[in-house]
Structure formats: C-alpha cells, structure tokens
Symmetry: C2
Subunit: 198 residues, 2 copies
DNA sequence: GCACCTCTCTACCATATGGTAGAGAGAAGT
DNA sequence: ACTTCTCTCTACCATATGGTAGAGAGGTGC
C-alpha cells in the first residue's frame, strides 16, 4: 500500500467507529479527523462511504473466518471441545477489540451489497458448523437440538454481549475485561450443560 | 389525546420504523409520510426528534414491563416454569411486532437520556430476575450459574434473534412465524437443559 | 530538466435533515 | 359574533453530509 499506510489506518479507524457507534452515526468527517487526514483523502482511497463500509466488513469477515478456521483445525475430536474452541476464537478478538463483532451486528441491520458481503462471508462458516453439529447429534455425541438455534445463540450472545459493554448496561452491568473472561467461561459451561448428551 | 389520535399514530409508526431501521436511519420526514401528516405535525406533538425517541422508548419499556410482570404473577412456583413464562411473555410481542425489541437493542447503542430512560425502566426488572434466580440457585432448584449470564443470554437471544428476521440472515435463515414459534420452544428446552439442577 | 505518478490538500456543491415562524381551519366557550 | 384554543398546514432556514473539481507537493524514471 502506501508509505505511511494511510489506507490501513483509515480501515482501522473506520472499523472501530462503525462498530461502536454504528455505520449511520459516523460521518466521513469524523473518521478523517480520527485518522488525522482530510476527508478527501478518504475518498481517494475509497470511492464512497459505501465502499469503505464494504471494505471494513470484508476485512472483518476475513479476520473472523481465519480465526474460526484455525480454532477448528487446532481443536480435538470431542464436539463440545470443538464448539468451545470456536466460541473462544470469536471471543478473543471481540474482547480485545469490541468493535469487531459490533460490526457483525451492524451488518445484520444494514441492507444492500455491503451487508451481503459480510453475511456472505460468514454464512458458509455457520452452515458448516450446523452440518457438523447435526452429524454429531446423529451420532449421539450432542444432545439433540436445533443446530441453528445453537449457532444463533452463540452468535447473539457473543455479538450482542461480549462484544459491546454498552449492550450490557441494558441488564445493569458494565463488565471489565476479567469479568468478560469469566462470562466467557460461564457461557461455555452453560453451552456444555445444554448440549451434553443424555 | 386528539380526536383522531394523531399522537398515538405517530408513536406507533415511529416505534416500527425506529425498531426495524434504527433511530439514526429514520428521518422525521419518513415518519411523517408513513403517518400521512406533515413533518411539522410531528414537531407539534413532540418537541424534537429526541423527544419522540424518548416517548417511543418509554412506551416500549412500559409495555414490556407490564407483560413481564403479568407473566410472573400468572406463573407457578417452579423456577423453570417461571423463567419459561417470562421468555414467552417477551417473545409474544416480539413475534407479533418485530420492532418492539429491536428498540431495546437500539437503546443499548444510543447514548443520552433517551437510552437511559429505557434502560432505567428495564433494569429493575432484570435485577429482580437476577435476585430471584440467585435465590433459587441457593435452594438448589436451579443449576448454579451466573444469573446475569442467563439474563443476558435470554436478552441477547430474544432481542437479536426472535425480534428481527434480518439478524437471522447472518446465519442464513429467514424464519416464518411458525418457525419462530418452534425456535422459541427450542430455546426454552435449551434453557431447561442448561438450568435444570443436578 | 521534464514528464509522470502517487498522494494529500483547499474550495466548493447538491441534498437532506432537524427545526422555526407563522398562518389558517375548525370547534368551543362566552 | 367574537375570541380562544387545538391542531395542521406551507414556507423557510441553518447545518451537516456525501461527493466533485482541481491544484499542489514530493518522489521516480528518462
């Protein structure tokens, strides 16, 4: 890219701002000010705001996808372990960078090609997880349940909660990082209890 | 209020639009067009857009609060039954009117007094539920877990999923009403499995 | 030196938005 | 009949936003 990687810095700032405040609520001027360049520099690197949104979503989807794939490959055979590995893989970047999964939630609200790109990137991962869980349920290694519900549950929990401390104020709680970590293990225990066979 | 209840119609339309598209993405003009009045009629009934947002959130919080309280009073003594009753109570309006809980999610992202009002109204309900679950866990009638996690899980699931068919596209699924109903019973079974003692 | 390419800037535009000013219609009270 | 109050309207404004036009700075190849 560039010498000073302006494009990269714009992407980083936009990811944080979009994820935390929402795409609609963040103007190009705000992003430009955050990066420390003129607005037109943004429009040099990205043809339009929509273009920037697409790029941010694409990058986010790719990062999450890589993390999930790696977690799956590194995990053992036990389905509960594997599910745990995936949840952890999504939790880690979410805790370090709250905006990342806030974007996923944003994408589910947005319409048009930008959202399609993110969802299009994540959907195969989900589909794969669903088929995997179905198989393990058939083999009796997981309690029978709707795999999509499990996926949706993980998605909703991690996205809406672990991701975004703001959302937790709705239940009267402003968690610290260590509390988030505890929340993660609680969630995993919860999932294990719900999915353990027999 | 008025003869033709213009104020009420504005509130209804704003609730739907805010909940589905998000507060930022809906302009006063759009709401006015939806109701069939001039924008200034909105500003006659509500001093500002922020005022309208506050009114919508306050009404939504009140409705959900009433539904939850009623469900608690009507339920039996078994903690699992009671939790199920509350989830159903929140699910029912959510399915009939997807925007209602979309607003809750919106509120968690908004800042300022408007969001405070909604969250302020919902927080006591959540706190009460948390204390209740703690008590039942102490008595051994619920598996020990972080009650806030359970609350957050229900919140996230119902809010982010049952509420908004859009969000489900993220996991590649566009549910019908009957599928939502099935999803609800799946969620309840999941909760029971996770919370049943021993 | 000179053309060229990359990158960032200042200046400007069209549009949409939240909000104001004020007038007019119609019912109600006197 | 006259005022008053409620309610809705047309016309307008200030601001912010996404986006365009075009120039200038600084390096690179010839």
């Amino acid at each position: 890219m560039a010498r000073t990687d302006t494009r990269g810095r714009i992407l980083e700032a936009a990811t944080d701002l979009f994820g935390v405040r929402g795409v609609d609520a963040v103007s190009l001027d705000v992003i430009a000010a955050e990066v420390g360049v003129a607005k037109q520099t943004l429009l040099y690197w990205f043809a339009s705001k929509d273009d920037l949104v697409q790029a941010v979503l694409a990058q986010t989807a790719a990062q999450l996808g890589v993390a999930i794939e790696a977690a799956i490959r590194a995990s053992g055979d036990d389905p509960l372990d594997r599910i745990e590995a995936v949840v952890k893989a999504v939790f880690r970047p979410a805790v370090r960078r709250p905006a990342l999964l806030g974007l996923v939630r944003e994408a589910s609200r947005l319409s048009g090609p930008a959202a399609e790109r993110l969802n299009g990137a994540l959907r195969p991962l989900v589909e794969r997880g669903v088929r995997y869980m179905e198989g393990e349920m058939d083999r009796g290694l997981l309690r029978r349940a709707d795999p999509r519900l499990v996926a949706a549950l993980c998605y909703a929990t991690v996205t809406g909660i672990a991701t975004e401390p703001e959302a937790l104020r709705a239940v009267g709680w402003q968690p610290t990082t260590s509390e988030l970590r505890r929340l993660r293990s609680e969630l995993l225990a919860f999932l294990r209890a719900a999915l353990a066979p027999g």
